[in-house]
Each structure stands twice: as C-alpha cells, then as structure tokens.
C-alpha cells in the first residue's frame, strides 16, 4: 500500500484573535452576573448594557451556545462576558 506523503491538515501559523479568557463570576437572580474577579480583585457590575444569545455550529460536536452580556464595572470600565450554556462556564471576550 502506498504511504500518504501529505502533511496533516491544520491552521498552520494562523492564530485567531479575541479568544475567550476564562473568568470567575458571581451571579445573582436569573443567572445574571453580579461580580467579576479580575486581576486578583472583585469588581461589581454596575449595569448590564446589552445581552444577546449566540447559538451556532449545532452540527459539530463542540457546538456554540453562549449568552453574552455587555457590562459596565463599578470602576467605569466596559467588559463583554459570556456564559457557555453547555458547560456553564464564564468567559471574558
């Protein structure tokens, strides 16, 4: 049998940007984020400006099901968080 001389397929040196970063979150009623642990300190979420749901690639084993929240922290900074509805883990993006 002939050997397959091709290289295994992959992205090569392609690196995607804005990858999600795992984050520790305290939630309140209705699973809404209340506090965020960032740089060794807890920050309160002052307001949730927007929220939206992204559900995609359902045909893949690692499908995407995320609930996004655009928030303002109590130090005035903006942050976009999401909760992975499959693993219930929180990420920053």
């Amino acid at each position: 049998m002939l050997k397959d001389s091709r290289k295994t397929m992959g992205h090569g040196d392609l690196r995607f940007l804005k990858n999600p970063v795992p984050l520790q979150i305290e939630t309140g009623n209705y699973q809404l984020p209340l506090n965020v642990l960032s740089r060794g300190r807890w920050w309160g979420i002052e307001a949730i400006l927007d929220q939206w749901h992204v559900e995609d690639e359902w045909w893949k084993p690692d499908s995407i099901d995320r609930m996004y929240y655009e928030c303002v922290l109590n130090n005035g900074k903006y942050i976009v968080l999401y909760m992975d509805c499959i693993s219930n883990a929180w990420y920053k993006q």
Partner: protein, 393 residues
Amino acid sequence: MHIACIYIQNFYFKSEIIRRPSLQNESVLIYQKDRGHRYVVDVSEGLSPAMIGASLDSAIEHYPYAILCNADFAYYQEESRKILVRIHTKTDYFQQAKLGSIYVDLQGLNKTFQSEATLTTSLLNSVPDRMAPQIGISTGKFPAFLIAHIADPGHARFVLEDVEKAIAPFSITLLPVAENIKNQLRSFGLKTLGDIAAISEAGLQSQFGKIGTAIAHLSRGIDTSPVIPEKMPVPVDARLAFGIPVANIEIIAWAVNKLLSMILIRADVQGKNIEKMTLSGICLGGYQWHQKVVFKAPINRQQDFLGYLLVKFKMLKLPNAVEELSLNVDVMGADYAIQKTLFAVQDDSIANLHKSIRKIKITQGKNPIHLIKGVDLCSRIPERRWAMVTYDS
C-alpha cells in the same frame, strides 16, 4: 439681533420623568461616578440646586429619603437631539449651549411667524410639555439666557430694551467665567451683575485683563457672540419589499447590500460622513425590528458598511421570515476625505520592511512580524472574525 434661549431647568430629571413617570412627585438625586467619586449632577424640583456638584454622600445626608438615579447621559443626549430635530424643522440657526439650553437666532423668523405669540408658541412646541421650557428673548445670548431663568415655565419673556436694568439683579454665579474669577469678584463685594455694571470697563480690565472686558460687557447685557448653527445629520432612507418572505441570510445580505448601493450612489451622500445607520424590517406576521450602528470614524467602503450591518443583524432572533427591509442613514453635512501620500514613500517602506524581516529571520531564526487579516467578519462568534498570520505567508 434677537436671540431666544430655550432653557429647561433640571433637564436630566425631566428626561428621566419621560421614561419613568413614577418619579414625577418624588425627591430624586441624579448622580455620576467619576474616578471612584460619586457626585450629584441634577436634582428633582423641590430639592436645593446647591446639591448639584456636591458629593452624593453629603446630598444623602440632606435628603436621606431621596431616590438615587444613575445618570444616563446617552439617553439625555438622545432626548436633547429629538428637541434639536424639532427646532431644525423651523430654522437652521440654533446652537446647543449644553443639555437643556438652546439658543435660537430669530433673524428672518419674524417673517415666517406673523406675530411674537406664534413664534414663541412654535418654539415652546419644540419641547415636550413635561419639560416645561422657559424661553427668554433678548438682544444677545447671555441676556436671553438670564431672562429665560425668570420666565414662567411653559412661557416666554421678552426683554429687548433696558436690558442692563433687567439683568442687574442677577447673581454673578451665572457669569460664564471660572470659579476663581467669581471668588475674586465676591471678595471685592460684587455680588450682582448690577454691582459689576457700576464699575468702569477700564477698571475691570486692569484687574482681570481680557476677561474683565468680557465681564464688563456681559454685566451690561452686551453679548455680540453669534449663534453658531449646529451640524444636524440629514436622514436618507431606502426601502425594499420581498415578493415572498425570506429567511435565508445570503438573500438578506444581498438585499442589505442593494439598499446600501441605493443610498451610497446618491449625490447628497457621496463624500459625506455617515454618522449612523439603522436597519429595520418587518417579519411575516407584522413583527417589527430595528438595529442601529453608530460609526465613530469615517468609513468609505460599501463592504465595510455591509459587514457592520450584517454583524448587528445576526444578533437578532427573528420569529419569522422577513417581508420588508429598510435602511435609514444619518449623513453629516461636512465632506470628509482620506488623505493619501503624494510621494512613492509607501513602496520604499514595504521594500524596507521586507529587508528588515530577512535580517530578523537570520538573527532570530523566525519572522516575528504578523499581519491581522479578516477571516469571517460577519461571524457571530467574535474569535472567528480576525486572525494573525505571519507577514510573508
């Protein structure tokens, strides 16, 4: 020169009442956070205006049962913009001094509005009744501003003669000068504009310099500064209806692109700065939706506009297929251009970059220069939109 000042006292509080009528008869403190400090930016009617600017904690000591409300400046600016749009239907010569305070140059309007009564009614109708605007009409911006303060809510007051006498009782707090200047005036025993008007212009100029001349004129009701017209966006829209309701994203993307082409080809849009786009639609069954995109920097490529619109569209969860699409665009009047270089420096810089990369590869063994490329700009998943690739790949 006749100038009108439309003054809305406690503008932030009155804007809050429009969306939360339950606050109408409550004591409310509207505050803002700045670098960890919270201070009051507005109060409800009945609370002392001296609280404005004070720290929230000291205001709460005075009014422990007041409702605390976080300032929403984006909403207040939107409410102010609606008022400016209504004034724009009557005249182009208006200027927003700050939120809740608008100057209107009345030149030429006397011919459109046959009497003073119809003119003032028209200006009052530009503001929601709940805001109870006060209008002052005088010979300059500053005296009009002062007269507006003593007009009855929902009414206008004219002072076109003896302006100096009319504004004499006003406190120097209302002068548009720095606080330290006002403190100096108070230290001289000058508490009202009438006190300042009694002093010669030369005396004030020798004490305060150029500002002294301005103070001397303003205290006498002389303000020759013109009303600088606001740049208002011109709305442009295009509409498209589908013969059969559509749920396919590619067809919708094609339709949005078609709407963009219809708008961007117009002579009154070409070369202009587009501030905002609103994509709206109606689904089968009558469900209406809209998504707004605000552009903070000028964009000139249709595909970039399309990319932003489709990203917003994909965030929607529509219950049914789309029957109709419309695109509304706010075009700012000023022309914009992107300056390109006159010289062939760019070719040299790319050749230099390649040379540097070759050198680095020899010394470090790899190319550290990367290029950021759009992979799927319309993807709903943020990490799929952009990727880094090695520069010469």
